[in-house]
């Protein structure tokens, strides 16, 4: 687009605006009374009723009363807040695309614009994936301003910085970087800004795009940024000294940096009393370990290193496999593939039939497969436990990582038994050990060992003991009062 000045004639003004946007369907022009005043807006964005009531109607009355009117007469009808003066077509079109309404007075080479943007709104709903028993039942929305509002409601502090930028050459998506100036590590903040600034893309559709760009290693099997749909998680992260990135149009926020520990912490660990939080955390970790290891252990015990099996179990499974057509490893892989297909399919099933098909496929198909001799009972049990256990972690992405790595471990177990499983596990650990998230080891505080932080891994620190984690190198470490004391402000 060229830096053309605003033309003084109404007709030319309208033509230039329409040409700049290639005559879109939703571009509307209004011209009350004598046609000297032209108003342009995108009907898909604008609140037409609002424009009609608050601007067009009074304008019409004004034009009827006065014959020689100037900007001085029209301006009182436009609220001062958000009112801008524009002198080029470029700026005018940009404002239009941002949801503004343009007002042009014939004979002048400038226009005024004001904001009449009405977004498609959605009522806040409970989180879809990160559900908790206790805690706020609200998830993020698509409007970045509303998400920022959710954060501002809870952190009423001057040091809360919200740095905005627009990313995406064509989408001009608004992105906000939120942190506490006196807490967050300045180097991490600088890194976040640098990486966001380097993004060169035509359009951002979801926060996932941003995650891939700013991640230290996008090809890693582990998530090196944390995404969440819960505002309370974002708030907790900001208070800890981490950085939150919100993307307009996405109902997921990004938190950086992240360690493997954070991916296993759920907000409700801190809402429940101390021992309950510990209990929940321990079972979460055990659940995910089962999800990744159980098929490999099953293969290595029942197909390679059978000497360690309790003999009755060996004989029972052996008896159960009589008549089964497939070898054990193939059977297991077949069932794992079927479960993965079901998982994907169930996401897209219409809700009216999902329950019926769920029961039919899950229960009846499983039983029929056993009776038909395609799989054995033991394999079915292992597959189902694995499938459910993989959802025990609060973070969806780490669950996905384990779903992929499970297959690798099955191959290692089939080839080299328990030894192969161990080496496979060490390779996975090694892969995690190589990863960094914004300069911090992904395996912190386990590796390298930070003794003071280890308590907050399997256990969680009681709230009165809370200190900001040394891992994130915050400026201010103290959060609550000293041990045993009352809260000080």
């Amino acid at each position: 687009m060229s830096e053309k000045p605003i033309p003084v004639q109404s007709i030319e003004f309208r033509k230039l605006i329409a040409d700049a946007l290639n005559n879109p369907y939703d571009l509307e022009f209004e011209s009350p009374a004598d046609g000297k005043v032209s108003i342009a807006f995108l009907a898909s964005f604008a609140n037409k009723k609002d424009i009609q009531t608050n601007f067009l109607a009074p304008l019409g009355r004004l034009l009827l009363e006065k014959n020689n009117y100037t900007w001085a007469d029209i301006l009182p009808l436009i609220s001062e807040q958000g009112r801008k003066i524009r002198e080029s077509i470029d700026e005018a079109v940009n404002d239009l695309l941002d949801g503004h309404t343009l007002v042009h007075l014939a004979g002048k080479n400038f226009i005024y614009t004001f904001n009449t943007h009405e977004r498609v709104k959605r009522e806040p709903t409970p989180p879809l994936i990160e559900r908790t028993i206790r805690g706020p039942k609200i998830s993020l929305l698509e409007d970045i301003k509303e998400n920022i509002q959710l954060i501002r409601e809870r952190i009423k502090n001057r040091q809360l910085h919200i740095d905005g930028m627009k990313i995406g050459a064509r989408s001009q998506t608004k992105v906000a970087v939120i942190y506490l100036q006196d807490v967050a590590n300045p180097l991490a903040v600088k890194k976040a800004h640098e990486r966001l600034g380097k993004i060169k893309i035509d359009g951002i559709v979801d926060s996932g795009y941003i995650e891939e760009y700013i991640s230290d290693n996008p090809l890693s099997l582990f998530p090196l940024t944390q995404s969440t749909e819960r505002p309370d998680k974002l708030i907790a992260a900001v208070l800890e000294g981490r950085i939150v990135i919100l993307v307009d149009g996405s109902s997921n926020g990004i938190i950086v940096p992240v360690t493997v520990n954070e991916l296993y912490q759920s907000s409700e660990d801190y809402y429940f009393p101390f021992w309950f939080g510990v209990f929940l955390r321990v079972f979460r970790i055990i659940g995910n370990i089962i999800a990744v290891l159980l098929p490999g252990v099953y293969v290595s015990l029942f197909a390679v290193n059978a000497s360690s099996l309790p003999i009755r179990m060996a004989l029972t499974v052996s008896g159960g496999r009589i008549g089964v057509a497939l070898p054990l490893v193939v059977e297991l892989l077949f069932m794992e593939f079927v479960v993965e297909i079901f998982r994907e399919g169930s996401l897209r099933l219409p809700t009216t039939v999902s329950q019926t098909i769920g029961v039919a496929s899950g229960v009846i198909l499983g039983l029929s497969a056993v009776n038909a001799g395609i799989v054995s009972n033991a394999t079915l049990v292992v597959t189902i436990i694995t499938a459910i256990a993989s959802y025990s972690g609060p973070n969806y992405e780490i669950g996905l990582s384990w779903r992929i790595l499970r297959f690798f471990l099955i191959f290692m177990a089939a080839a080299f038994g328990f030894y192969g499983l161990t080496i496979g596990g060490l390779l996975i650990l090694g892969h995690a050990a190589i990863q960094d998230s914004f300069g911090i080891s992904f395996l912190s505080p386990w590796a390298p060992i930070l003794p003071k932080e280890l308590i907050d891994t399997v256990f969680r620190r009681p709230l009165w003991m809370r200190q900001r984690l040394e891992i994130y190198q915050p400026v201010d470490e103290r959060r609550a009062a000293k041990k045993g004391g009352k809260k000080d402000e």
């Binding site: 029942f302 059978a306 029972t316 052996s318 080839a415 080299f416």
Partner: protein, 377 residues
Amino acid sequence: MKSKLFVFTIGLLLLATLSSGCWDLLEVDKRAFISTLGIDGNEEGMIVLSAQIPLPHKMLPPGATSGGEPGKQFSTINFSAEPVNTALNGLQAKTYQEVVIEQTKSIVINEELARQGIAQITENFIRNPKMPPQAVIFFTSNHTAEEILSFSPVQEILPGFQFIQAAQLVIKGNWTYYTPLWEFEQKLMHKATDPFAPLINLDPKDKMFVTAGLAVFNGDRLAGKLDMAETQYFGLLAGLMQAGSLKIDLPGNKVLTLRNVRGDSKIKVSESADGAPFFLIKTEITGTLNEITDTGEELTPAHIQKLESVAEQVLRPCLINVIKKLQNFNADIVGFGDKLRIQHQDRWQRMEWKNLYPTVPFAIQVKLKIDKDGALR
């Protein structure tokens, strides 16, 4: 960039290694697990190795009320060859699955074969890394090992497994003392002690196994047997009895029985006048009163003390007889030689223990303590 290339190459090579063959992949239903091994000798001097193999398709799955087949739930196969491992390989010819030794629970050896010496057999088994070292060894007295393996007792489905379960139960240490393979071998190698192992027999009338009594060894040769009562006394001497029961016949046709009996001995070695070692054994036995021929009296501490000293007088000759019997067998299973080795190391190194043991002098003191009295006064 270089790292990525290395990683890619490494990944490719790893994949190639993995896909070249799962050499040890053998599913559990393709394995014929041996639950018990039986070893006999035949006239040609070869080993007859029998193996008891459970049949999964005949077993009733847990929780099922139907399925499974009537009849024995295991099969017995055998092969003759010399030595034991050749016979083991020979068993492969007799099944369609791969015969595996890794779940062997017990080994039954024929008494006659044992008398000729079994060092070679046990060493062969221990050398095989797949053989579980905790398999228990039995010796048969009136039957061949193959007969023992083929027998299906009325209450037990898979006898091989029941034996090792029994070995874990403390209460069983009253009729016999179980010896796992590793312990048998350890005693064989350790020149200061001799091994022993339980005896196993069939009772066709009750259709049961009877595991009672001990087979005692002189080196690797079976030297003799102890019956049930003698085994109990041996247990008291060696400190092996932990929850046994004891019946003591008191003078005047009275009977005293104790339960929860524990016994242990302290053996002190000193030098006698002629320079030979002299063993002083102090045996302490503790038990709970189970049954006493009714005297109508309340059991006061004085009464109990009197009972104890009378019982000690009765027990002492029984223990002496057992030690003498073991000396006759030249089977040092109580551990005299070990005590000598510990307490007089220099003498041990100069001595030929096997020549000395049958005639070595000893004295025994018995101390009985009845510490609890059950539900009645």
